[in-house]
Every structure is written in structure tokens, then in C-alpha cells.
Symmetry: C2
Subunit: 342 residues, 2 copies
């Protein structure tokens, strides 16, 4: 879960009902979280405004996170809801500077769901868990009536031990920090859209869905002291940067030309009217590190790119230098660009 | 999650699709778990066949469990889906002999769900968490399209530290052990059925939904070394006993006359054609303890009742002595008595 520190009333439809935008990863979702969950359930762990909670049990510092997956379609180029459910939670735990170790797995099935599809998904969970080095240790199965679900929804929660000496918090991000993105952005959302809308491109765009915990581990084990990590899921790179700028009260400046986007993804964005910086990813994250550590990160993750830096703590904002024209303010979207992307 | 050690093929409808019975807490659900999840994702933690996983991180022995809640109706006498989601996971962690400490909270909302209902539910989560002594430390919110959910589904996962010196496993249950149930059974299911079917009784039957971790804590802190705990949720007292008999390969004998059931619940069962031992509870558990410890448990939990004992390890079965006629075999139901009870 991520939160956003806005003190606005809940935006609702005229009858005070939940809208798709409340799950979109943008301002409206963040306001719901802030104004309802955060205000009612407030405690120091929930209030850190990060992807997972970090706390000590006995002498062990642990990270704990959860995500539900309601993606449509459930099978897509580069993955399925099963692998996604492993990657999403593994990555949230990794974003806390922890090595994810154990997962829970809770599945809500709609009556009539094909068992052959369930078998494929469980196989995919097994394979993704093995690659990430985590074990599914506990689970739950529920079935809901036909018409009260959409085939399958999956929840995973994950726990891991925070690596020694690591202290990751949005508030640790400081002026001068380098901003490094771990690879090209936008592929997950475009892969989903292509299936959903029946679009065909000259080459199939595969989701970037992957576990990034081994990359995080390498960064930390190679002597980098990261100030913060943040994965670019719902709301994309832009929302992740805005969240961090708000939490740390800092001004982040990125350069549009440096943001890695596949040519095919850019092409699809032009056709569909999307901006790649708002597209959801499931295997990409941002590292905020001291300027002198940026080079190490770039060496450790070959596809990573230095896209900007933190330029001051005078104002909480994100700006983007454009190749032509003035720098522009990067804001969160209000609602969602694409519903049910994860 | 609980598992059942049967090596049967998956029971399916004619077209190999999921049926409501796959979520019913009976044989069919257990076969799905055993034949698909257990066989694909097997590891020593998942294979212990208990309500939660127990493992060590560093020097700390921890318990971890998850449950999704898809109950219909979401508000019922004695609770709602929010308090239920706290109790269910708190209890699963407690069944491992652990003090639950932290919860994750993941909510799937259907487009159009009233925000006023969400507010009530979050308030109920807050109140139930405070009573149980746990904190919600991380969460997730998703929204699905109208017609792809049923208002609200909630998943919680919970972790806690296993209490010092405690070693709880179904396999620790031994001949001679006393079987103690913590209170009267069947109220949760009847409370739900009454709302669902519009039944009226002379007094309103309230769900037994409650957190039992303080009771578990008292048992352990008063010098009892429990061999196993098991909560009587989906599938009721009967399924919990059969699961333990199968896991421990023991013969449990209970006495029908000793099983505590409210007069109103018995009356409702007669009208509806239910057997109370199969009704779901959300605040009742069985303790398996040495015969000499039973008295202490009965003192610590005033409403608890000694209902039977483990009589041999010659055969895995549960039998029930009836006031009139011969003892009868207690088996799991095949499918479900009541769908979406939790």
C-alpha cells in the first residue's frame, strides 16, 4: 500500500458510492486511503507511507506487505495473474530493503471457473516463487456464486527480513540524490491493453512482470546504501515519483529524454492516447541513492537508467525537463488510466 | 488454510469447473487443496496441515496465516465482514500458539459500493483490532467493475510470535488427550442464515464471532502445554475434529450430549434441517490437552466444555456417542452446508 498526504474530502459520485477511480492508483485512491483507512487505523507502521510495513519482532527487523490482484485478462503476454501475484508482493517487500521469504496465498474463485485455468495459474505461482526464492507457506480458498466475481482474484501477503544496516524510508530521500529507474517502462500496461482491446503490433509486447528482489539484493550487497526504493505499479513512474516527493517533501527533477521506453510502447501510447510515465509496470522500480552511488546501481542493473535527481527540499513537487519547451509539472492522475491492470 | 490428506481425484462438475462445494470446507474443498495447491506448492511449512504456518526468522519463531472473507450478508447480528476479517485471521494465528500482532488488510470493492458502508466496516475493523490487541500495518485497495464482485471482499493476513515453549501441531495429539470446545457452537452460521432467509426467532441469535487469542494466551500462561488447537470455522466442529484425526492418525470420541448448543440454535437447526456440529463458528476452538490439564482449561474459559477424548492411535476416525442408539461415525460433509458463511 502506498499513501498520499492530501487532506481532501473523499471524491465520490453523486450518491457517495465507490467508483473505478478509487482503485486507480491516482489521487482519488490516495484520498480514500488517507481519509478513511489512514485516519481510522493510524499507527506508526501504517503511517510510514511505504509499500510495506517494517517492524521488529524480537530482535528481527521484518517487512510485511499485501496486494490483491484483480487483473483482466488473467493470462497475458509475459505472465498471468499467478506470476503477477507473486511478483507484486515480492517486490513490495523488496522495496523495504528486505529479502522476501514467505508468502501467503488466498484465492477467490467464481463458480464455474475452469479447473484447467486454475492449474495453469498454480503452476505459474510455483514457478515464479521458485525464481524469486520465496515459499508459499499458508493459504485460503473461497468460492463465490456465478456473477459475483470475475473468474479468479488472488491475494498474496509476504514477509521478509530487512537486510542488515538498511534503513529505507521515503523521508530519507535528500536533495542531491540520484533517481535511477531499473528498466524500460510501460510494457505491462500495454501488454494488458493489447489483449483487452484486441490490438496487434508488429512484435508482441510482453509484460515487464518480474521479481526484482534479486536486483535489490545486489544493490545492497554491493555496498550501496539506498535512501529509498519505490516500485512503479498502478499510476506508473509518475505516481511513484509524486508519492515520494510528497512523503519526503522534496523537489524531484527528471529528464523526459532519458526515460527508457520501448519504441513499440511509445507507438502504442500514441495510438491509444496514453502517457508512458503513467502506465503500470510490475517489474520496475526507482532507486533513490547518493549521487556517488548511482554509477554502481547502473552497473549492477544493466538496463537501469539515471533519469533525474532530487534538486531541493524547498517544495514537494516533480518536474520534467522536456527536449523542447519549458520544464513541466508532473502530477498524479486524478483517477485511473487503465482499470484492473494488476 | 487447513488441509486433508486424501489422495482422490478432483471432484468436478461434468465440464471440470469450480463449484460452490470447492469452497465449502468439506471433503471436496480439501481434495482441491490437497491435489492442486499442496501437490504443486509443497514445502515443510505448507505440509504441516495447520491453520497457519510456523517458521523461524533469525531467532524468532513466528506464525503466519491468511483468510479471505466473502460472507453474505456483510452485516449480521453480532458483527460484520470487518470484525469477522480481524477475528478470522487473529484466531488462525492464535491456533498456532502465537500472539497475533500485525495484520495486513486488502479490500476488493465493487463499483457502486456505498462509502457509508465502507466507513462502518473500517470502524468495525478498528474496534475489533483494538480488542484483539493487533495493529493493521499494511493494506491494499482494489475496485472491480459493477457485476464483478459482491459489494466487498476482504483479505487479512496476520503474523505473530509463537509463545515460548509452545509446540502445537496436529501430529502432537495423542491417545488420552482431552477434547475441550471453548463455548456453544453454531451461532455464527444460524445468525447468517437468519438474515439471509429472513427468519425470525423469539430472540435474535448473535454470531459467536470474536477473537480467541486472549483465551489461548491464558491457557498457555497458566501452565497448560496444549498439544493442538483448532478453530471450528467452515465445516464446523465436525470437520475440525475429522481434520485433526486424519493429520494425527488418531481416533477421537465425543459425546453428543456434552456438545454445547443454544436451545435457539437447536431449534433453528430442526427447522432448517442442519446438524449443529457442521455449522460454522468464528469464535470457537477445540483444545487438545493432556487429561490432567483439561480441568485448568475449563477453569480458564468459563464457557468451555469437555466433550470427549482421544481414545487410540489405531485408526483415524471420529465417533460420537449418542444418548440413544449406538455410537456413530462423524465424517466431513462432502460439499458445503452453507456457502459464503465467512
Amino acid at each position: 500500500m502506498t499513501q498520499f498526504d492530501l487532506n481532501c474530502p473523499l471524491p465520490l459520485d453523486q450518491n457517495n458510492h465507490i467508483t473505478m477511480a478509487h482503485g486507480g492508483g491516482g489521487k482519488i485512491m490516495n484520498q480514500l486511503i488517507q481519509n478513511l483507512f489512514q485516519s481510522q487505523l493510524s499507527n506508526p507502521h501504517l503511517d510510514t507511507l511505504h509499500d510495506g510495513a517494517v517492524f521488529e519482532i524480537g530482535s528481527v527487523k521484518m517487512a510485511f506487505s499485501t496486494d490483491s490482484f484483480v487483473i483482466n485478462p488473467i493470462f497475458f503476454p509475459g505472465g498471468d495473474i499467478g506470476s503477477l501475484a507473486v511478483h507484486g508482493t515480492v517486490n513490495d517487500v523488496a522495496m523495504c530493503g528486505a529479502m522476501p521469504k514467505y508468502l501467503s496465498l488466498a484465492i477467490i474463485l467464481e463458480e464455474g471457473f475452469p479447473v484447467s485455468d486454475l492449474e495453469k495459474i498454480v503452476h505459474s505461482i510455483k514457478s515464479a516463487s521458485e525464481k524469486a526464492g520465496v515459499e508459499v507457506v499458508t493459504g485460503d480458498t473461497k468460492v463465490v456464486d456465478k456473477g459475483k466475481g470475475d473468474g479468479i482474484y488472488i491475494n498474496t501477503a509476504g514477509i521478509g527480513e530487512v537486510m542488515s544496516g538498511v534503513n529505507i524510508r521515503p523521508k530519507n530521500v535528500k536533495p542531491g540524490d540520484a533517481v535511477v529507474v531499473s528498466g524500460d517502462i510501460g510494457r505491462h500496461a500495454i501488454a494488458i491493453m493489447a489483449v483487452r482491446e484486441g490490438l496487434e503490433f508488429s512484435t508482441t509486447i510482453k509484460s515487464d512482470s518480474m521479481a526484482v528482489n534479486h536486483q535489490v539484493n545486489s544493490i545492497i550487497n554491493n555496498g550501496v546504501s539506498p535512501h529509498c526504493f519505490r516500485d512503479c505499479t498502478r499510476g506508473g513512474l509518475a505516481s511513484a515519483l509524486v508519492e515520494i516527493s510528497q512523503s519526503a517533501q522534496i523537489h524531484i527533477e527528471i529528464e523526459e529524454e532519458k526515460i527508457p521506453v520501448l519504441k513499440e510502447v511509445n507507438g502504442a501510447c500514441e495510438i491509444l492516447g496514453f502517457d508512458p510515465i503513467y502506465l503500470a509496470n510490475e517489474g520496475r522500480f526507482i532507486s533513490f541513492v547518493k549521487e556517488e552511488d548511482a554509477k554502481k546501481v547502473l552497473e549492477i542493473i544493466p538496463d537501469s537508467v539515471l533519469i533525474g535527481k532530487v534538486i531541493s527540499d524547498m517544495q514537494a513537487k516533480v518536474t520534467m525537463i522536456q527536449p523542447y519547451g519549458p520544464a513541466k509539472i508532473v502530477d498524479m492522475l486524478s483517477g485511473e488510466q487503465l482499470p484492473r491492470i494488476c
